[in-house]
Amino acid sequence: MARLRKTPLAWKNLTHDWRRLAVAVAGIGFAVLLMFTQVGFQNALFDSQVKLIDDLQGDIFLVSRAKYALAAEKRFPRELINQARACPGVAGAYPLYTELTLSRLKNLAQGSSRKAYPIRTIGFHLEDPVFNSPAINAQRLALRGPQSSLVALRSTRSNFDFPLDDPARLAATPVELANQRLRLAGVFEMGTDFAHDGNLAMSAENFAKYFPQRVAAGDPLSVVDLGIVHVNTGASAGEVRDLLDQILDDRVLVLTREQFRLQEVKFWDDSTPIGIIFNAGKIIGFVVGMVICYQVIYSDIADHMPEFATLKAMGYSTGYFLRLIVVEAVLLSLIGFVPGLAVSSALYAILARATGLLLTMTAPSMALVLVLTIAMCIASGLLAVRKLLGADPANLF
């Protein structure tokens, strides 16, 4: 308690010169912004990669062992779905078909480019409870018709210039998917990711018509991209997963929802340069912040050398000066963090609108950047404190 009543020298020194404080806050805020941008983009990337998983209903997922990421077109035979369905504890198992390579969408409307752009097409059996999305579930009827599909595009800057907010005009827009006419019966929401420009959802029957080349010969629906398993109410997803893993052969991986998400994120984080690039970005932000923070604390010390030397002569110990600088560093990081956070939030909102990426300010990313900021300021404070410890009171007389 006694310490609390003492003159808050760190705070007083920091706030004494408001111009210097403003520069310091701007600098540290900038470093905070840099780190937030990196963290935000990285999260947006990962979140949008797993957006499809989040939009699916189901407790356990079956994927081909070779499918290293959702975007990889590795499939497994449909029989495995049927086997899974027979497993105890399983309430239902449903196939999901996706197509990317063959899935090219062309807008034939007047004034549009008439070029074909890739889009992900998702096929499902309309009676299967595979989607969470209320928009899809509500528009199942519309998907019954031939050539019917729902479309989800990123909100702005798409290659496709569809009148998404007007269902009537949208339905009238002439489009071709894989060189066959398609009718856009409605829209649904699915955030874009780095691999896909948009999504189409349609019935499995239509899917088979559009992409007969999926298999060399035979039923295009005989190979499945994703198996979705619902477990019985009360059954443990983990236990059922273990059981399925034993029953099904090695061609598929059996994953719980959490495992599936992790595997996907892990792929983007570890196996692509993206994770490294974003981590490098974070480190750069950290270093920039450290340099700025060091500069601020160092010049504060350098300007007050005789005063600090006097404190030393009075009998203030090394420990006191270390605490003083650490407190000053933490204060600086907190003062710098707030405006940095505000600007970053604004930037997230602007970028999210512009790109359709899922840029949101989440508690974990705030905590991460706050911890990084505090660490950065303390580290630079401890570097600068050597100057202070070198203050020689013998020169005062």
């Binding site: 007083k12 005063e307 009998g315 020689d392 009171p393 013998a394 005062l396």
Partner: protein, 381 residues
């Protein structure tokens, strides 16, 4: 028991029997700056003692080592050779923790004020009180008392930016005194002050020395404040040239003035005489001088009483008793004759003695001496 080395009378070693603890004991301290060929000795075999409650003023030209000695006493430099005790603790080889702890009992007043611009006068002074762990209320009272005494009562909560140079210096002085230090080390504390506030500062020093037993050592060239010194130390080229207890010196001068031959000497000459006198002690019934011996010393009795005994034809006759302030032994020196009487201590005594050469030298410098001498001699024949 005779002292191993005679001590100067003006060192104030004689305190009338009262033992006052020493705040500072400097013995055989040498200090060097630089290394190898550039190594230069800044202090040569410095020895000094400073008693509790004394105000010591150190003077000397710049580069004389007084500041070096001050920083050594203040623990701001490491003692290289010799022994230096401050507040009873040896500084030579002291650990960092011991030094930090000792520093909290010292008060520093530097030539520059070194106040934190971000703190008010009150907060700056409070830095020292907080460190000493003073009770908050007491600290408040004392800070307000000190600042008010120093003429800053209206500016207690001002920041240094709104204070003049002299006012800042006074805040720094309050900071050096607030935690009731046992020893205050000050470097030109009054240099930035006008006469009136400089006077207020030294009056405050005197009160602290008297009421709190605070010892004050200051380096100053400010002649206006020399009068507060109990002791003046003069340094030249790293040597302590003189270390004079002002009060004792004035006592000696008063005594000397009673000696007719010295009666009209200038005070400065008397002080020089006092400087040359040495302390000698004797126990009761010791024979100080013996009739017939050659005369070498002039004696001034600082304390105790002696009998003057004349031997005539084998009979000893006591002719007089002498007490404090009186003198004897001058006749043999003046006339280059053997002692004409024996002096025996009645009680334990302390004398201040002056050698024959010095005695004559002083007399030769007195213009009136020759006349006086004639008068003295004439009156005896």
């Amino acid at each position: 028991m005779p002292a191993l080395k005679p001590l100067p009378a003006t060192s104030g070693i004689f305190t009338g029997g009262q033992q006052i603890p020493k705040t500072i004991k400097v013995s055989h301290v040498n200090h060097y700056f630089g290394d190898g060929e550039l190594r230069k000795q800044a202090l040569h075999d410095n020895r000094r003692e400073v008693k509790r409650g004394e105000i010591v003023i150190m003077t000397g030209p710049s580069g004389s080592g007084k500041t070096t000695l001050l920083t050594l006493i203040g623990t701001l430099r490491t003692v290289q050779e010799g022994s230096l005790k401050v507040l009873g603790r040896e500084l030579h080889g002291a650990s960092r923790d011991q030094i930090v702890e000792l520093r909290r009992e010292l008060g520093f007043i530097f030539q520059a004020h070194n106040l934190f611009e971000s703190l008010t006068a009150y907060q700056n002074v409070n830095r020292a009180a907080e460190l000493a762990g003073m009770d908050r209320g007491l600290a408040r009272q004392r800070i307000e008392m000190l600042l008010t005494r120093l003429g800053l009562g209206q500016r207690i909560h001002y920041k240094p930016k709104s204070l003049s140079g002299g006012q800042k210096q006074r805040v720094a002085i309050a900071r050096g005194l607030v935690h009731q230090p046992k020893l205050v080390l000050a470097d030109e504390p009054t240099a930035a002050l006008d006469e009136q506030s400089g006077r207020e500062v030294v009056t405050l020093f005197q009160e602290l020395a008297r009421d709190e037993g605070c010892t004050i050592v200051m380096v100053t060239h400010d002649n206006r404040i020399l009068d507060v010194a109990d002791r003046i130390v003069n340094m030249v080229d790293g040597h302590i040239r003189s270390d004079v207890a002002v009060h004792e010196t004035s006592v000696i001068c008063e005594f000397l003035r009673q000696f007719p031959l010295f009666a009209d000497l200038q005070t400065s000459t008397l002080t020089e005489v006092a400087d040359k006198m040495m302390v000698e002690e004797a126990e009761a019934s010791d024979v100080i001088i013996r009739q017939g011996d050659p005369g070498e010393l002039f004696y001034l009795i600082r304390s105790g009483e002696v009998d003057v005994v004349v031997e005539e034809g084998g009979r000893r006759r006591k002719v007089a008793e002498l007490g404090p302030g009186q003198y004897f032994g001058e006749a043999a020196l003046l006339r280059d004759e053997p002692r004409n009487a024996t002096i025996i201590a009645r009680t334990n005594c302390v004398f201040y003695t002056l050698g024959k050469a010095d005695f004559k030298d002083v007399l030769a410098r007195s213009k009136s001496f020759v006349e006086e001498l004639r008068n003295v001699l004439a009156s005896r024949t």
